[in-house]
Symmetry: C2
Subunit: 402 residues, 2 copies
Amino acid sequence: MLIIVQKYGGSSLATDEQIKKIAGWIAKRKKEGNQLVVIVSARGDTTDELIDLAHRFSDRPDKRELDTLLSTGEIVSSTLLVMTLISMDCKAVSLTGFQAGIKTNGYHGQARILSINPQRILKELKKDKIVVIAGFQGINKEMDVSTLGRGGSDLTATAIAAALGAEICEIYTDVRGVFTADPSIVPQSTKLNEIGYDEMLELAGCGAKVLHPRSVELAEFYNMPILVASSFTDEPGTFVGKESMEVRSKIRGITCDLNIARITIVGVPDRPGIASAIFEPLAQSSISVDTIVQNTSIEGNIIDVSFTVSKNNFGEALKIIESIIKSIDAKACLGDSELGKVSIIGTGMRNTPGCASKIFKTLYENNINIKIISTSDITISCIVNKDEAHRAVQALHKAFNL
Amino acid sequence: MLIIVQKYGGSSLATDEQIKKIAGWIAKRKKEGNQLVVIVSARGDTTDELIDLAHRFSDRPDKRELDTLLSTGEIVSSTLLVMTLISMDCKAVSLTGFQAGIKTNGYHGQARILSINPQRILKELKKDKIVVIAGFQGINKEMDVSTLGRGGSDLTATAIAAALGAEICEIYTDVRGVFTADPSIVPQSTKLNEIGYDEMLELAGCGAKVLHPRSVELAEFYNMPILVASSFTDEPGTFVGKESMEVRSKIRGITCDLNIARITIVGVPDRPGIASAIFEPLAQSSISVDTIVQNTSIEGNIIDVSFTVSKNNFGEALKIIESIIKSIDAKACLGDSELGKVSIIGTGMRNTPGCASKIFKTLYENNINIKIISTSDITISCIVNKDEAHRAVQALHKAFNL
């Protein structure tokens, strides 16, 4: 029998009716002769509510404790879904991340999956049970719960699918698939029927929230096809897989990420080891740095270094940088958290000269100032003022005729 | 350093202020130079709320799933208390039942503790941490969560105290200690400063809700002194320990349990194996039977068998008995769930002739009909109509001058 892995996000489980509807879907797929492994997120806003709860007791909740607290959200979802399935005469069992054999490294709040021992899952599948797994969590070598960070349930689903050699990993969410741009910003945007891993990766990395970039990476590595579809409609979604020749020649989408903050360090002496002195302390605090821009030093060996972090890391990152200003002999640091990143993505850019200049021209014609530019093989990203970001997406979507 | 085990019940953790107050107490005890292991229940009515939640998805929630769901209540408490302690600069760590090494048998909803491996607890104590353990739960050999039943956190505390060879196990609750009778029924009742295990066991078994009988049994076996005290006042509580000579000569208290239902099987043929045929199926469904009364057969080898169960098992027990009526050739079965059990307890009864007759006379003078009488070494219990139970306790408290 084929193993199908499904993942249902928090909004798909928010109401009792949704849980019952989804249980019906799962039961139907089971009766069609599949083995089913289902990964669930915490219901609705549970995770945010638990974070708020923790902050009632501590300004900076201990990360290990917070992880254990947050993990209960997914456990609750998993047991409720299984109770519903059993009440419909489906054999089913819930597993926590620990019971599902998910081993992680020790980084609380943003742990990485080290390995999955699928023994227990396979044992339950053999008993013809539907296995429902609490997403977002695993245990480290101390047997402590560690969570995988936001979007972690997508990652759980992809990793479990890979470990089981599943046919497909189906991610059910509150959007209908992957679009050329966020439909709430660009109403004319269209849904893609399929997309390659690389392009999906860039889309996800640039703020398209349908799929966590770490999931896409993992799926690509194990060549696991992913279906992204809505749990609210019966519409077909978007397949993410190996890209076909035809797909490679197009620009696939435009994203917009408003969760961006920039820190600029002014007047840094240009000497070896300076980058390490700046970014090492950030890494030690597990702060991911996105775009880094360093201008060439012209006079006096003094440079400026700018980088972006996600907005929720902004305060901590700024504090860290302020504390090292002196030790690196820099003049000052500035921060700006009212920014947006607009990215245009597609393998087609590799062989379409003039893409970058078309982007810059479009933004100029729309009177939008570009603060930082960064490019990768298949992506061009522009950091702009937050309140101009949506307008930039709309203009570019039109200019590239998506 | 001395190890002190403390347990805080749900009402003691219900409000944020209570949690912070208790964290202050714990921090103070730690600073006095003790090693502290704290067991917590779920906050306030959390367990009942989770049971209600489960029933929104299933009329008879699967017991394994329900156990996993319920266990999250204690986990939440433990993490919040630890976050609070850490924010007060106390080193602390929360452990789930599994992490604390609590192994149980497989009976979901009323599991028994098989063993405790305190390795992790000791490791954390060595790091000078306060260890906060989620009560009420352990894992069975399948690595599934199983809960210990109502009052299970008391049991966790006593078992952990025994496993660690602690100095004392302190149970903090919403009552001020052990009383001669429930103060809400008998305002004149007085608090006992100390009480023996045996008497406490009978008090607990007969419905005094301050301490779970399984905890008392366990404490007696390991000779672990218990302090029962209020988490709302600074009053000294009641010490439960080895009884002293002086204590042994008294009647210690009167209890009242309104959680009683009776089932009577009428016209049962009196033949060997009949008791087993009746009680085996109940045991298989994990239903505890309390008092059993079988009258002597006089004519035709036909007997009546009555027994009591707790009210929440009444429906299931009645169903089971109805299903075996035919196979044991009995005539019929009757049920009555509007009953109360009044018990008078004290090792003093052993050497005080006339105790029983004084009880029966007091109830007779107060026009209270006794439905079933049962006696043990240090207890006399009478099953009466529920609406007469409180009056019975008041009358007996007065008659015995407690």
